[in-house]
Symmetry: C2
Subunit: 425 residues, 2 copies
Amino acid sequence: MNVHHYIACDLRSNDPRWLRGASSYWKSRMKKPLHQFASVGWMVCVGMLLATSSRVVALDNGLALTPPMGWNSWNKFGCNVSEDLIKSAADAMVSTGMKDAGYRYVIIDDCWQVSRDSAGNIVADPKRFPSGIKALADYVHAKGLKFGIYSCAGTNTCAGRPGSRGHESQDAIQYAAWGVDYLKYDWCNHGNESARVAYGTMRDALKQAGRPMVFSICEWGTSKPWLWAGNVGNLWRTTGDIHDCWDCKEQYWTGWTRILDQQNGLESFAGPGHWNDPDMLEVGNGGMSTTEYKSHFTLWCILAAPLIAGNDLRNMPLEIKDILTNRELIAIDQDTLGKQGRRLRKNEHQEIWVKPLKDGSRAVALLNRGTSEEKITVAWEELGYPDGLSISVRDLWAKNNLGKFIGRFSASVPSHGVVAVKVSP
Amino acid sequence: MNVHHYIACDLRSNDPRWLRGASSYWKSRMKKPLHQFASVGWMVCVGMLLATSSRVVALDNGLALTPPMGWNSWNKFGCNVSEDLIKSAADAMVSTGMKDAGYRYVIIDDCWQVSRDSAGNIVADPKRFPSGIKALADYVHAKGLKFGIYSCAGTNTCAGRPGSRGHESQDAIQYAAWGVDYLKYDWCNHGNESARVAYGTMRDALKQAGRPMVFSICEWGTSKPWLWAGNVGNLWRTTGDIHDCWDCKEQYWTGWTRILDQQNGLESFAGPGHWNDPDMLEVGNGGMSTTEYKSHFTLWCILAAPLIAGNDLRNMPLEIKDILTNRELIAIDQDTLGKQGRRLRKNEHQEIWVKPLKDGSRAVALLNRGTSEEKITVAWEELGYPDGLSISVRDLWAKNNLGKFIGRFSASVPSHGVVAVKVSP
């Protein structure tokens, strides 16, 4: 392989493409004219990209072979955590049917910890967690659920609590002793540390501690973790924090559609055991309409995103529960092929997103970002199927078969809404 | 102060100058013509440099107010360390008069450690240190000496033993419990970690552990630690390893004269509690002549360098002991003003180095790098004294007063030799 092909295949680019379109994509990116590359060379190159993306060395802890599902305290409760809150969240996860739908991890985010003792051991807030973390983990485990916790690679967490820097081994051993199953590991107060080194240190400490834990890297995409974290974490955040709105934007957080825009191009880096994480769900937190929450949830499933609910499970309106427990969409997210979906096409307000599934079918989301209802059409050829093929279409929200279609499928999509279908040749 | 002065005073430059010569120095460095700067502005600027260098925030552990003195196992013994060796080195430090001359720290370098236990605690080599590190520290302390140890900021030490990454807090607590007084902290297997972060982590861990320890940063000058380590370590290496030769050069080590060349310009960054470290002494290790060892030792004293002997103290020829215990030169090194000397002038083979002392006098080294004896002259004006002043000169190797001199002092200096004098107006 000559140096040009090597350059074109360079995985430091964050935008390799699967399926078709790679050639025109690269054509638009290359500074040198394409005729320098023989078409055979291109096929080799694209083939290598595909091979490489499936060869990514995944973290060998055997966890998160499908995107992790659970609940986390941060989006709704912030620092206002306690053992009562976590226990009631675990109770609600069972009573609402969330557990039956596949949700497993109950995760305390920041603010459970207050200090370190003289031996450097992390100390939980004795007022808010009077029974201690071990008892809380036991409670969660007794419900048939998994228990998750939070720390930070820096000297302090994002809320200013003690971070794990310099205490990684000690903390990992402590978490293992408590029965922790999942660690979300944040990126504040790091003083320009190398993220790769910092997360590698905790990865090694967790491995050494001996208890398998899902390792959730939360460094906000700053160092393009999709390029290096495949064998470091089970999931890695790709952007700043999500906010409960359609497309708002602040310095550190944005609405979910802005996060969605940043996921396109990252699909080749995800797979069983190692996932891009567009952040936790905002479904049910009150800032968006039910239509918008359905779109948010649908697209997260198309992205093979971790499904970590962030609402108050104890007081969940029926329409919110119905979104979070839509088993047909959850099955798309959890499909064992483990392919992250990508944006097939974007025309003004209309977007078509597609996710290949293990049985050869595709999940397709027709998203309308406009302010009025629009008809959106997807052609079989765009999905890689022959134009004349008669293909079954199932509506994943209505949960009914729409029949067989030849050539294309069209649907009227409400403003800020989505039509999600499974397309099976 | 306008922006130009700010730029000129920028401490990110590694070459600020004290005494005179600053103006011409900057003139040669500035890309913009000097007339942009009013001379008053220059005085302010140079004054700020001086003020800043003395305002550098030093590590607040109260240690190393003069450059640390001691012995380290590496240069002579490498990995071949044991409790017997260290105990005999401590014995010899007392019996040879090294302790009386000011040497205090007995430091085990790499290879004392072999593994970590299941709780992540560092484990000393049970064959080589059967009594354990605590007992060894006790032995050293009983001699009225201080005890030092070695680790590394990476996952493994330079010799491949377990490093401290992720175990910083645990290791610091362990060192404190053992009674460690000095930590040399190396820079292998760090995976492109930020040195500033890595050493900051151990600095914080040592502080937290509560026992004051001299913190010796050994990152070889890679990230210009003089710019950031003033409040991180008590000393920081400025170059790759020293080798026992006059001017040899390999990838990772060089002869002492090449290291000397790299010290010039760093003088403003050193001071009580925070020292540039041109690496340990090679005096007595057999690769150089007695003349060359005297030059090496002299220049290290002029540099206010840490004086860490690296030879076999148990078998020390008289002429080597006389070099290492030259109290008049040690007093230059340990002068409480804490100013690192600088190169005043270099003409072909001849160099003049000068170090200001607390009593207003100056230590001056006339160094001959040539292959035959040369006469070297230093003028009072070069030292900042009036030409006509009658000034006392004392020979620091002959240990006798040479009398009073007007205008200048000259001496014949042998090849690769030095004449070291104290000049007192």
